[in-house]
Symmetry: C2
Subunit: 202 residues, 2 copies
DNA sequence: TCCCGGGCCTGACATTTGTCATGCCCGGGA
DNA sequence: TCCCGGGCATGACAAATGTCAGGCCCGGGA
């Protein structure tokens, strides 16, 4: 009785390599591979895998949003998030979206197959170190609007540009940014962006 | 006659997966794996692989610097850079450091083994699209000092902080930043950092 | 030899950014 | 019902940022 898998990662080489790695296990079988978040659900519906391994950073739709889709439309398929960045907010959002497991890409290769088996068996798989980080970091302190503004300012856009893009007054934008800077403990906009990103709040 | 390989990538899972992928080929054999740039040279000297696959983003020493070390101390080992980011400056610097090939992580998995064989056969392997990008983007227009200052300002540090770290006057720092902003066609510091990073100039 | 250009540095000046106090509107508890 | 917190806005002030003109040093032609 083999476990049927779907792989989603935007880097073809990594996708293929993971496929090779998991294919070495006799009880695992990769039945589908996709390279973008919005292709996950169609592939799941077509192939009905037991477990879907999703990267977070993907074009189209991020892995967490894709996990939520899968959870809704194909609840029998369990989701294991496999990501580069162990950001506390990612873990929180992933679990909230119904993911059954969360693994960082610098865990030893030997553990991946085990994680897949555990998830398939109905267990939850979470990196313990990351779980405590997530508790310490807590939920995002930013209000939705502050998050929007900070996200819009991520690429170095000026206050005026952000204001125009979000149809806000410049003063309001400055206010939201100021609040975000305060809440993140940063000294300026750039630092605020960095810590917010690092915590997975954007 | 098998080709002996060394793998260097900071993400253990990717390293293991690549190892599995390449291990499927009967003429390839992975003889060493390391997870940091400064471990590359010792491992090369110990195992004398035919080809070293190096990631660019690694702790300790970046893959390009490691390539230069290998080139100097073990010229028989050919270097193939395998990286996430196809930044023009990376390619240029990699070739300059004596790398024999440059592959981006979103090339199809099937092509990797071929790239390894070609490099081993003494050929140069370069993604053609990337090569033209590299030509278009040209060399970094930033002077060494401008590069230093921009790099120091990358994390959102203030002018005062950068000045102190680099033992410069604040005015000088502002000036270098202004020059970098002008040369990159950016509107401010943050944008300058983004385009410079995107081109591999930092 | 003199001149020129580039890299590096500096201080003055205008603009942008961040902070603060304040006010208005709205929806959801107590 | 009242109150509170979030979103939105304004205006004023201080601090940081970006621009500019200019000076110093060095190496490479004319």
């Amino acid at each position: 009785m083999t476990i049927r898998l779907l792989l989603a990662d935007d880097q073809a080489l990594v996708r293929g390599a993971l496929s090779a790695l998991l294919g070495l296990e006799s009880d695992l079988e990769v039945v589908a591979e996709v390279g973008a978040g919005d292709l996950v659900l169609p592939a799941v519906l077509e192939h009905r895998p037991d477990v879907a391994l999703l990267d977070v950073e993907m074009p189209g739709l991020d892995g967490i949003a894709a996990a939520a889709e899968v959870r809704r439309a194909a609840p029998d398929t369990r989701v294991l998030i496999v990501t580069t960045f162990g950001r506390p907010g990612y873990l929180r959002r992933a679990l909230h979206a119904g993911a059954a497991g969360f693994v960082v890409k610098d865990t030893p290769a030997a553990q991946l197959a085990d994680a897949v088996r555990r998830v398939h068996a109905g267990l939850r798989v979470v990196d313990p170190a990351l779980a405590t980080d997530s508790l310490v970091a807590g939920e995002s302190p930013l209000t939705p609007r502050e998050t929007d503004v900070l996200r819009a300012a991520r690429d170095g856009a000026s206050v005026a540009a952000v204001a125009k893009r979000l149809f806000l007054s410049e003063g309001t934008v400055r206010n939201h940014l100021s609040a975000a800077i305060g809440k993140t403990g940063a000294a300026n906009r750039a630092e605020a962006v960095i810590t917010a990103e690092g915590n997975g709040w954007l």
